[in-house]
Each structure stands twice: as C-alpha cells, then as structure tokens.
Subunit: 290 residues, 2 copies
C-alpha cells in the first residue's frame, strides 16, 4: 500500500508542476521526491505525471487521482481532530436526565452554557423523576441526572447546582391569593392540598412534612410530577408546595406565594453521575458546571 506522504508529494508536484519547487515546499530535495512519485505510480499502476522534456504535466489518470488525493488528505487530516475532540470530551454525547421542575430554571441556563463552551457536545434530554433517574444512572441509560437528594449516595458523585426556597402555588382567584401579602405557615390550615407522593417524590414529601403541619384530611391528591401538580392548582383543585423554579413555568391562573416565617433555601438541586463513567464527554460536561 502506498503512503499518505507519497500522496502529499504527488499533490505538491501536481500543484507546482515542478519537482524542484514542490520539493522546497515539502522540505526535501528533488531525488527522494522523484522516487516517492515513482513508487506511488508503481503502486497505483498508472503514470500520473507526464514528464516529457522540460515541463511536467498531469496525465488524464493523474487528474483523476489528484482529486481523489485531495479527498484522501482532507479526510486524513480531519479524522484525528475529530478523535481528539471526542477524547477530550469536547465532542460527544451526554444523556441527561432531569425533572420537569428543573427544566424551567437551571436546565435552560445550563444548556446555554454548555452550547457556548462545547458547541459540538450533543445532549440527550430525558425527563424523569428522581427515583427513575437513579435507576437509569445505575443501568447507564443516562450519564448525568439533575435530581433532588437528601443524602449523598455511595456509588455516585454529585454537585450542588442550585438552592431555592419552597413556595406555595395557589389558584389566582383563591382567597389566599387575595390576601395580597406573604403567608405564614399557619395560613395553610384547612386548605385543600395537592401533595407530593411519599414514594415518587420523597424529597419534597420529607421537606414538607418536616416543616409544615399537614392534616391528612387536607390532602386531595398525591403526585410525583411537580408540573402536574401546578396544573391541578391552576384548575382550582387545591394548593401545592413547589420550588421557586416552578414559577417560571408560566402556567396561567396560578399565583406563587412565599412564607415570611420559612425563607430558608431548603430545596436543593444536584447533578449526579457515576464516577466510573467511560464517557469522556461527561468529564467535559461536568467541567462546565463549575
């Protein structure tokens, strides 16, 4: 098989139609250049250059081989660059699991940042609740998750992305909304509540029952998806505890109220990933989180 160097030699000679000048460009002397061309012609099995007399001309076969040579060299030069980009994680695919609530606040900012820093990085977005995210991470169906966790998990690494307050979503025409002031925790007494599921949204469930006095009779529904809860609030079916970022969802008919006696940033959003991931794109993705 001929070598890419021989092809490079041939292209140089074909462009200059002059062995001497081509040799200068290639940083070599004429004799080895001449031999490389001969060798290439022997491998190819056809005369590529017509050296009669003073002038060097391309043969018909040479003209065709020249166009193929340019393709070949272009491909050969681009291929390593692509591989390097993949190896450094600047190019590749990151599969990202996220909760619907995270989709409004931090996710869009995160995606913008990644697109600026790593324009060749593809991101697959998969919406799922935190419990599903953990299983998907375990089965390597996703590379990173944006989820809510109380305690770090042993086999996962995490980084805190965002802390936010807990707000109360109420129907815009409800009596709570008409108060036109910040709430105190006791205001929710007797109100119909659309509650977080103790299994599918354990994180919020624990925060709420730990900080508010909820009477079981208040609970109208138990759901896992925050955005579904907001929809029900908009329909006047009750009130719901939601993180600040849900406020961006722009669902009409919902008012978000804060608590004057409960301002702590108790809702945390973490990025979660397996430290043993073999995806080089993940490392690059994570580096943009900082």
């Amino acid at each position: 098989m001929y070598t890419l160097d021989q092809v490079r030699c041939f292209v140089a000679v074909a462009e200059h139609l002059h062995f001497g000048r081509a040799a200068v460009e290639l940083n070599m002397t004429q004799p080895p250049l001449s031999r490389q061309i001969q060798k290439l012609e022997r491998h190819v099995g056809a005369e590529l250059l017509d050296r009669r007399g003073r002038s060097v001309e391309l043969t018909a076969a040479g003209r065709l081989f020249l166009t193929e040579s340019r393709k070949l060299l272009g491909l050969a030069e681009r291929a390593p660059e692509g591989a390097r980009r993949v190896a450094s994680g600047r190019r590749g695919l990151v599969r990202l699991g996220f909760t619907a609530a995270a989709g409004f606040g931090p996710l869009s900012r995160l995606l913008s940042t990644v697109k600026d820093d790593l324009p060749d990085l593809d991101i697959d977005l998969v919406e799922m609740v935190t419990a599903e995210q953990l299983q998907a991470l375990d089965e390597e169906r996703i590379d990173v998750a944006l989820g809510r966790l109380h305690t770090p998990l042993p086999h996962l690494q995490s980084q805190l992305l965002l802390t936010e307050r807990l707000l109360l979503a109420v129907p815009a025409d409800s009596e709570l909304a008409r108060l036109d002031r910040e709430l105190v925790r006791s205001d929710i007494r007797g109100q119909p509540i659309i509650m977080h599921s103790a299994t599918k949204a354990r994180y919020f469930y624990d925060i709420i029952v730990g900080n508010f006095e909820i009477d079981p009779s208040q609970v109208r529904h138990s759901l896992g998806q925050i955005m579904t809860m907001v929809s029900l609030v908009a329909g006047g079916h009750g009130i719901a505890f939601v993180p600040e970022s849900a406020e961006r969802s722009r669902i009409p008919g919902v008012t978000y109220l804060s608590f004057s006696d409960f301002r702590e940033d108790v809702v945390r959003l973490h990025a979660l990933w397996r430290p043993d991931s073999s995806n080089p794109a993940l490392a690059a993705f994570l580096s943009t989180l900082r």
Copy 2:
C-alpha cells in the same frame, strides 16, 4: 503524518479486539503491530484503544476514528483503480465528430459496440460536416471524426469504417418514383437537383460530377448537410444524391432509388484521428473499431 498501513493495523485490531488475531490477519507478529498502533495514537493525539486488563476495547475516540479509517481505506483502495481505468482508456471521454448522414447507419452500431466493450467510456457527440471536423481535429476540440475523405491526410490516421452505394432520393410522388424500376444515369437528365456544396461537401460533389452528367441549370440549391437535402426532397423541391445510410432516416415522402449502371460502393466513411493524441481513452475507443 501517519501511514495507511497504521490505519489498516488499527482497523484490524478494532475488528478483532485482539492484537494476536489481528497480527495473524496482517501477516505480522504482535510487537510491531503494537508499536504501529502506539505510533498512530501518538500522531492522532488520542487513545483509540482501551487495553485494560485482558480485553481490548475501543474508546469513544476510537469508535469515531474507526469509521473515518474505513472511509479512508476505501478511498485509498478505489483511487488507484479509477486512475488505472483512465490510464488504460477504459474510462474517460472521447469527443466524436460525425456527419448527420453517418448518424443513421454506422454511428448507432458503433455506439452500441462501445457501450458494451467500454461501459465507463463517455462519448461526446458533435455533429459537423467533414470540413469542420478536420479543423476541430486540428484544434483538438474533438478526438476522432467520422468523415468522408478522398485522400489520406498526412497528419491524421484513418480507418475505413463503411463503403456504400450512392442512391438517388426523390419525392415519393414524383415521376421518377412512379417508374417503379431501377434507374440508369441518364434518367436524371433535366431533373431539378439539390446539389452538394463544392466547398462544404466536397467529397460528394467530386463523386457526383465525376460520375454523372449534371447540367448547371438543373441545380436548384447547394448545401453541405445531407439531411437538409433530404428534407428538401421530401418537400418536393428536387432530387438529391445521398449515401445508402441516409435511407434509414425515415423521413416521410422520400423514395430512394438505385442505379443499375452505377452500383459501385463509392461512398466511404472513415474514422479519423490524430496519432499524437494524448487522450488514453482514444486508443481504447479505436481498438473497438476493429
């Protein structure tokens, strides 16, 4: 720059995921194969293979580079073949000048033969009279001409393709057609004749004035293109001398009559070309003429 051999090595290892078996396929031992891969990785600037422990795996960069490698090798293997085909004339372009009259008989047979023998040979067809053909050959605007010549030209080579009789084209409703028998030369006395131009169709002109008695007053028009003459005959404007192959034109309203006292194959069609042509496709084309 890395070599195609290194790429070939990489593809073999990537396919077997095993240095030993890949080395067998490449007819070499493991150590040089290992070194070639290392060298390739150094040139590429990224790890392509993940040799941890027992098993060899492709890295993400390696997977991308593998697809590029296959493209590269495919291109590198096809390029010489294309060049060889061009060099041998099996592929290329022949520009063929032909007279309209030649287009009906020998040309279509010739093209069929060429398409069978040389499927990758493109043929540009350019219709022109013999005088134009000679100039086009001289200026290398065409490679070969199908023309009519009395005497060989010094700077051109030629081959006789066809000999045919001279027929008389007459309007189907003329008195000559109604004779319903072969003609003798004296039958044309007094008939209106559509004559060949002495300059643009010198070949036919010479044959006709050398074998028939034409009174200048009989000549209605002087033309260079035989098919135009046949059209005029169809329109009832006179009679015309044409080669046998014109009979295939199927222009309605024209009858072709032979002469019982002039049966010789006087009309010759030659292929003409420059012996110093640099077009390798021409040689292949000419070889199919025999």
